[in-house]
């Protein structure tokens, strides 16, 4: 029988605010353990939480970008459970009146657009961080710096039909969040986290199967791998008439498999009730409108605009707009350099690979857009050839110097002088008698070899077009 997976994703995003959601402790990542706490986020008796205005604003902004409806009247609720990462023994979250609901993201799969529904988006506080490795094997260690960092929880509908679609959904969601500039979205630092629910059912069947929840994936690729593994595991179980139990599974990145999390038998019973320490919030239509009017251009819009304005292929526009700062870099360049095709080739080729090799984000590139354009113009003028230009770009990344300075210092300017190039060819022919006779005996390939030798003699600086012409001419007459 053919089975199809039904996948829903739950994403937690830490908001990029200066202070925590309900107190004024800094929300910065990486401080020493327990240096960013206060009586409110430590849950000491007698303290009162007060909502950070920016958190609501960022929440509304994100909800609108994800096409959600905003709830006009919202409140916070207590989610009760005992765990050492939670100093109050409850988490302030939202239950029946979440910030927003019923949105969607359009994702691109195999060239067609699929619409993935978003069930809800709500605000809550993050919990503390537990470390399990320390001097004492019988202990865990708690850092409450993360307690109270503002979180958005974004829950998708079970609309996702393959692990690859889950990957595309996450990539699109992250791009939108980055464009909005509301989160760092750094999975390694935990500012974006994703849990997945997956079940399978016979193709065409409406009823949902028993789902499992997958946790502990540290990258979008890990989410995809975990879902692929779980899809196969569940399909095999079904084919062998084994029961699939509803449970939480941890993804083991090293072993590339899911493992059962030791859980207590009892089901979760969070006993939500309205948080009495926080008053409700009314979100006015005019405030929603003002945030809506100030939304930045979003990935899909930028994609369509770039596609139409710069003669790009869909593939090129997709990569350029996958990162807001990469797209901005391109547009700064395109303002002063009209050969868009060449600019795109350079950006998606050499430029991106220089960035990736150094693990640098486009906005931190040591080579500014106008410096790259300068290099392209020098190359277009024939001062250096393409190969040299790539080496110059590497040197620009390494030293931060401009292309002009590097070409001058390293004497890289291309040799186009025919007299000089003729001399080089004469020497090369003299030094390579057997390839020369090979060529004359009809081995076309030998010409490439001789050409390479000549180029080497010129230290890579020979104008390839001119040297090719000269060589062919000389071989004809030789």
């Amino acid at each position: 029988m053919n089975y199809e997976p039904v996948i829903g994703l739950e994403v937690h995003v830490q908001l990029k605010t200066e202070s925590k959601i309900f107190c004024g402790c800094p929300a910065k990542f990486g401080a020493g353990p327990n240096t960013q706490t206060c009586p409110v986020c430590l849950g000491l008796p007698g303290t009162l939480p007060v909502l950070n205005k920016k958190v609501l604003e960022y929440g509304v902004k994100t909800a609108l970008a994800l096409n959600c409806s905003i709830q006009p009247f919202i409140k916070f609720d207590r989610k009760n459970y005992f765990y050492p990462d939670l100093p109050k023994n409850y988490q302030i979250s939202q239950y029946d009146l979440p910030l927003s609901y019923k949105g969607y993201i359009d994702i691109n799969t195999d060239g067609s657009i699929r619409r993935i529904g978003i069930t809800r988006l709500h605000l809550e506080e993050d919990a503390g961080k537990l470390l399990h490795e320390g001097s004492d094997a019988a202990s865990s260690y708690v850092d409450f710096n993360r307690t109270g960092i503002p979180l958005l929880e974004i829950v998708s509908e079970p609309d996702i039909n393959s692990p690859q679609e889950a990957y595309e959904y996450l990539t699109s969601l992250k791009a939108i969040l980055k464009y909005l500039d509301i989160s760092d979205c750094d999975m390694e630092k935990g500012s974006l986290r994703c849990d997945a629910n997956i079940s399978i059912r016979p193709k065409g069947e409406k009823k949902l199967g028993t789902k499992t929840e997958l946790k502990n994936m540290n990258s979008f690729k890990a989410v995809r791998s975990a879902l692929e593994f779980e899809l196969i595991r569940q399909t095999k179980a079904k084919e062998n008439n084994l029961k699939i139990t509803q449970e939480t599974l941890l993804w083991d990145e090293k072993m590339q498999k899911t493992i059962t999390m030791r859980t207590k038998e009892e089901a979760h019973d969070y006993r939500y009730f309205p948080e009495p320490d926080l008053v409700p919030f009314v979100i006015e239509e005019k405030d929603i409108l003002s945030i809506k009017n100030n939304l930045p251009e979003l990935p899909r819009q930028k994609y369509s605009r770039l596609l139409a304005s710069y003669e790009l292929s869909e593939y090129e526009a997709n990569i350029l707009t996958s990162d807001k700062n990469l797209a901005e870099y391109f547009e700064i360049g395109a303002q002063i350099y009209k050969n868009y095709k060449n600019l795109t080739n350079w950006m998606l080729g050499a430029f991106l690979s220089e960035l990736n090799n150094r693990k640098i984000a486009p906005e931190n590139s040591p080579v500014a857009a106008r410096d790259l354009i300068n290099l392209l113009k020098i190359t277009d003028e024939g001062k250096i050839n393409n190969l040299t230009a790539k080496a110059v770009l590497t040197e620009m990344f390494n030293s931060g110097k401009s292309a002009d300075v590097i070409i001058k210092d390293k004497n890289l300017a291309q040799i186009s002088d025919k007299g000089m190039l003729s001399k080089i060819i004469d020497e090369t022919i003299k030094e390579n008698p057997s390839p020369v006779s090979d060529y004359k005996n009809g081995k076309e390939n030998a010409l490439m070899f001789i050409m390479g030798q000549a180029m080497k003699k010129a230290k890579g600086k020979a104008n390839p077009k001119i040297i090719n012409e000269l060589l062919k001419e000389r071989m004809k007459n030789a």
């Binding site: 605010t17 200066e18 202070s19 004024g24 402790c25 800094p26 929300a27 020493g32 353990p33 327990n34 240096t35 960013q36 706490t37 206060c38 009586p39 430590l42 007060v50 909502l51 950070n52 205005k53 920016k54 958190v55 609501l56 009247f73 409140k75 009760n80 005992f82 765990y83 050492p84 009146l97 537990l130 470390l131 399990h132 320390g134 001097s135 004492d136 094997a137 019988a138 202990s139 865990s140 260690y141 708690v142 850092d143 409450f144 030791r262 009892e266 019973d269 006993r271 309205p274 009495p276 926080l278 008053v279 409700p280 919030f281 009314v282």
Partner: protein, 95 residues
Amino acid sequence: MAISKEQVNYTANLARIELTEDELNILSRHLDDIIKFIDKLKDIDIKEVAPCSHVIPIRNVFREDKAHKSLDVKDALQNAPAKENNFFKVPKVIE
């Protein structure tokens, strides 16, 4: 509706309270009375009453997104029953 001992035990477990057999018996009776008392609310007609989310009629209380100084680590940890290297130390929660 009578409150069973199992229900009392379940609730006690959620609150991490351990009860003796005697306490269980007393509490299931007490809880039963409390629930019956609260059940009286069901007799009231609330068709015209808006749901109450909060008892104080105030809305939209915010603070600006400004960071203040946090507690000194020493102070943050001063009430911790166990600590090590500026961490709160707790019994291991995973195996």
